[in-house]
Symmetry: C2
Subunit: 171 residues, 2 copies
């Protein structure tokens, strides 16, 4: 089970970046994404529209105290991974990450408090270069999870197509 | 050699998404990113600030006629890949993609004209689900390219670190 914590969401600056983090999480079957910063019903509704149409159970939870969440998840046996351009090479850690049954991935915002570096089991980077947290999350999930092609309750499904669009509607 | 074409950039809506596409491209050593839509000096300057500090040669080129660019690149022997949620499973195509010396990856915008579906050598998807073009680009580049850790002319370098930040300044 993989869950996501997105820190320091800002409006309007992070609206689409956080939305993209949620989309990539859903595509890999994540069912819980927590976020902190500003509560954003526009973001929450846009993900709800996607799950209403394309199915799945991604639940978006706004939280006020992310440090408490990290401590609680840690006590519940979650392995805490902080994705940061300052961290260790992720490829060297994949083998160990894959043995974990419950994982919380933290994605930073503008400024990440020392708490997260200190209270994560791993601080890892997808290349120690300025990067996109969306791409970094996508690459990590690609390595430790699986793309889902079938979601429960989908009203719309896309079939792979050489050219053009093959859209199937079920309702 | 891998180059990127980002279609239909909008201001302010796509500012950060296109910036993230450029950051992930740079992290994988891409040196040419073309974009179309609205010219955006804020986006161009933010990437210039990154390359000024962290090095590398990613060049951002605004173009007015992307269809002409695709035709020209095709004539120059580029293999044209269109990333789209409607496309074929990318994993089945990786072996063939890796044999290509010159690749142009097209990332769509709000609405992608049929031209791009028809004039690409491949339309591929990273999962046929609503996705992030940033994450999709990151995953594709991860599979067909290599993360770069050293860039020419870097004034700032980040060393991998278990906790906290290890920043080295060279100027």
């Amino acid at each position: 089970m993989i869950q996501i914590l997105r820190l320091g969401h800002r409006i309007p600056r992070d609206e689409r970046i956080t939305t993209h983090c949620a989309l990539v999480s859903r595509a890999f079957g994540v069912e819980e994404l927590y976020y902190t910063g500003k509560k954003d019903s526009g973001f929450e509704n846009s993900i709800k529209r996607v799950t209403d149409n394309f199915g799945g159970n991604l639940s978006i939870n706004y939280i006020k105290n992310p440090e408490t969440l990290v401590k609680t998840k840690s006590k519940q046996g979650f392995f805490i991974i902080h994705l940061t351009m300052y961290g260790e090479n992720f490829e060297k850690k994949l083998k160990s990450i894959k043995t974990k049954k419950k994982i919380l991935i933290i994605i930073g915002g503008e400024k990440v408090e020392p708490f997260y570096y200190e209270n994560s089991d791993l601080n890892i980077s997808i290349g120690n270069q300025p990067h996109s947290e969306v791409a970094a999350l996508g690459i990590l999930l690609y390595k430790i999870s699986k793309l889902k092609n079938n979601f429960k309750n989908a009203k719309v499904k896309i079939a792979p197509s050489k050219k053009g669009k093959d859209i199937k509607k079920y309702q």
